[in-house]
């Protein structure tokens, strides 16, 4: 797993992809920080995260689109699948590499709460829970992207399919307002990853959303493993 993680992580920075991602990520979060926190003179980061969440779906698939599709296209999956390691290790190694690049960006954004704490009164609990929620939400998005990448040989198809799923889940909240049946509304809201995030913005760290995000992330990684395995059985 370590070998795959290292290779994937380094390949983000030997290609331009890692730099492009970090540039977009930091640019967008910077703009959000300026608009929300500086513009409204507030030390609370909940507004910042609400905005960042909405744009996260547009840049996170950048990290995952080539994760598995490229291996399939260049036949390097032959090297990985004939090496004495399990498919699980391959999938986790790749996922954590994408996750680590994302976390690099997240760590850099910590400069914002530091600034807020120095020149304002930062609500620590709320900020920490927002960060945890944001990281959990994004790891779910990354796992969906990884799954889509394992289904196809084409990076473009992987990215577009991921966007499709993510935009649909974003719209779930709006769709639910058009549905009158309460049970259906509950199901739609239950499925909406953004809905879960609201707990974190209140500074509440309950188990339910944490388990929701982690188990869905795990589920998509499991699906990815299955797709990778199943292709051998074709």
């Amino acid at each position: 797993m370590k070998a795959i993680f290292n290779r994937e992580f380094n390949s983000y920075f030997t290609s331009m992809l890692g730099y492009v991602f970090l540039t977009i990520f930091l640019l967008l979060t910077g703009i959000m920080f300026y608009m929300v926190n500086i513009g409204y003179m507030t030390a609370s980061m909940t507004g910042f995260f609400a905005s960042v969440n909405n744009v996260a779906i547009f840049f996170l698939p950048l990290l995952t689109m080539r994760l598995f599709s490229e291996d399939r296209k260049l036949k390097t999956d032959q090297l990985l699948l004939t090496a004495p390691i399990s498919t699980k290790e391959i999938v986790l190694g790749k996922f954590f590499a994408a996750f680590a690049v994302f976390m690099t960006g997240v760590v850099i954004t910590l400069i914002y709460p530091v600034m807020l704490a120095v020149w304002g009164s930062l609500p620590f609990g709320e900020t920490i829970s927002c960060y945890i929620g944001f990281i959990l939400l994004c790891s779910l998005i990354l796992s969906i992207g990884a799954f889509m990448s394992s289904v196809t040989e084409s990076q473009i198809v992987a990215a577009v399919a991921t966007y499709g799923v993510l935009i649909f889940t974003m719209l779930l909240n709006s769709i639910s307002t058009y549905v009158s049946n309460e049970a259906v509304v509950n199901i739609l809201l239950w499925l909406s990853p953004l809905q879960r995030f609201s707990d974190f913005t209140l500074g509440i760290m309950s188990f339910e959303p944490i388990i929701y995000y982690m188990s869905l992330t795990g589920l998509f990684l499991f699906f990815t493993t299955m797709v990778f395995e199943r292709r051998r059985l074709r």
């Binding site: 036949k75 032959q78 004939t82 004495p84």
Partner: protein
């Protein structure tokens, strides 16, 4: 070392492999021969655990590929038809990655990799990006990857495809050297390659087993008839008539002409006495024989004969039904 029994692979209703069985002994170099689409790569992909199979069993060093895939994979170095290279990596970094990926434990990682780099002669490109290398070098980097960890079994899928003649000879020499201590399965549709390096040849066609023998025995199988080329000066029809008048000569064809000389090819089973008569027959007609040479039956011919006769039998079977 490797035992394949009743191996069958179906893609939908189509058989990619139909009941293939063979053994490879320790230290043996086995040639795997067949036209494109015969199932060579499929078989190799199955042995290395890349593709699953429909029926049968594969064991390597006593370990079953389904029950103990990790143990099997540890023992195999695989060079697929398209070398699995990450084109964005430096050669050395790639080899280090393969070393880590295979979880190799040696005392000195750098020395182990350097030994392999020297063996396949890629020392001058080890600091270069794989994407910028020529096909020949890429093939060698792929081979180096397969050799990392010094696995006792090597599976090489058409290792010389797309290389120039000089590179082919180099790769072949490397394989020959490796064959001294390792068990190797080598696939190819270039037959001279197989006869140059292999102890034993298995021929498959359309997923079916066709023949198995040493390269020498396969040549013998084709029979005692020799194909000769004669260049005879004089009248073409007369020459043909003389050739055809001998019982031991068959399949006479005039292949080309040079000035007033004609080049004939024919199969012959004649003994020394008959050959004398042939000489005098031409001498009497004052038709000098300018050139005579034997056309060697190559593995190519054996291969074509075997695969075609297998197909004919198949057709016959079908018409019987």
């Amino acid at each position: 070392m490797i035992t394949i029994s009743n191996l069958t692979k179906k893609y939908g209703d189509k058989y990619a492999l139909d009941n293939i069985s063979f053994d490879v002994k320790k230290g043996e170099v086995l040639g795997f021969l067949g036209p494109n689409g015969a199932g060579k790569s499929t078989t190799m992909n199955i042995i290395t655990g890349y593709t699953a199979y429909t029926d049968g069993s594969v064991t390597v060093d006593g370990y079953d590929i389904i029950e103990n895939p990790i143990e099997v994979k540890k023992r195999i170095g695989y060079l697929p038809e398209i070398p699995p290279l990450y084109v964005d990596m430096i050669v050395w970094d790639y080899l280090e990655f393969v070393y880590e990926l295979k979880k190799i434990k040696t005392d000195d990682k750098n020395k182990h990799i350097q030994d392999i780099v020297d063996m396949v002669k890629i020392d001058d490109v080890k600091k270069r990006k794989i994407g910028n290398l020529s096909k020949g070098y890429r093939q060698r980097v792929g081979l180096a990857g397969a050799l990392i960890g010094n696995p006792p079994v090597l599976i090489l899928d058409e290792p010389t495809v797309g290389l120039d003649p000089k590179q082919i000879i180099e790769i072949r020499n490397i394989i020959k050297a490796l064959g001294q201590e390792k068990t190797i399965i080598l696939s190819s549709h270039i037959l001279s390659e197989i006869s140059a390096v292999c102890d034993r040849v298995i021929i498959i066609n359309k997923g079916k087993f066709v023949a198995e023998d040493t390269p020498e025995n396969l040549s013998k199988k084709i029979g005692n008839s020799h194909r000769m080329m004669f260049s005879i000066a004089g009248d073409r029809e007369k020459a043909e008539e003389i050739l055809n008048s001998f019982d031991g000569i068959s399949n006479v064809v005039c292949v080309s002409s040079e000035g007033d000389a004609y080049n004939f090819e024919f199969d012959t089973t004649m003994d020394a006495e008959e050959r004398k008569q042939l000489f005098f027959a031409f001498a009497e007609n004052s038709m000098p024989i300018l050139t005579q040479k034997e056309i060697e039956t190559s593995l190519e011919d054996i291969f074509l004969e075997l695969t075609q006769s297998a197909e004919k039998e198949e057709k016959k079977d079908e018409s019987d039904i």
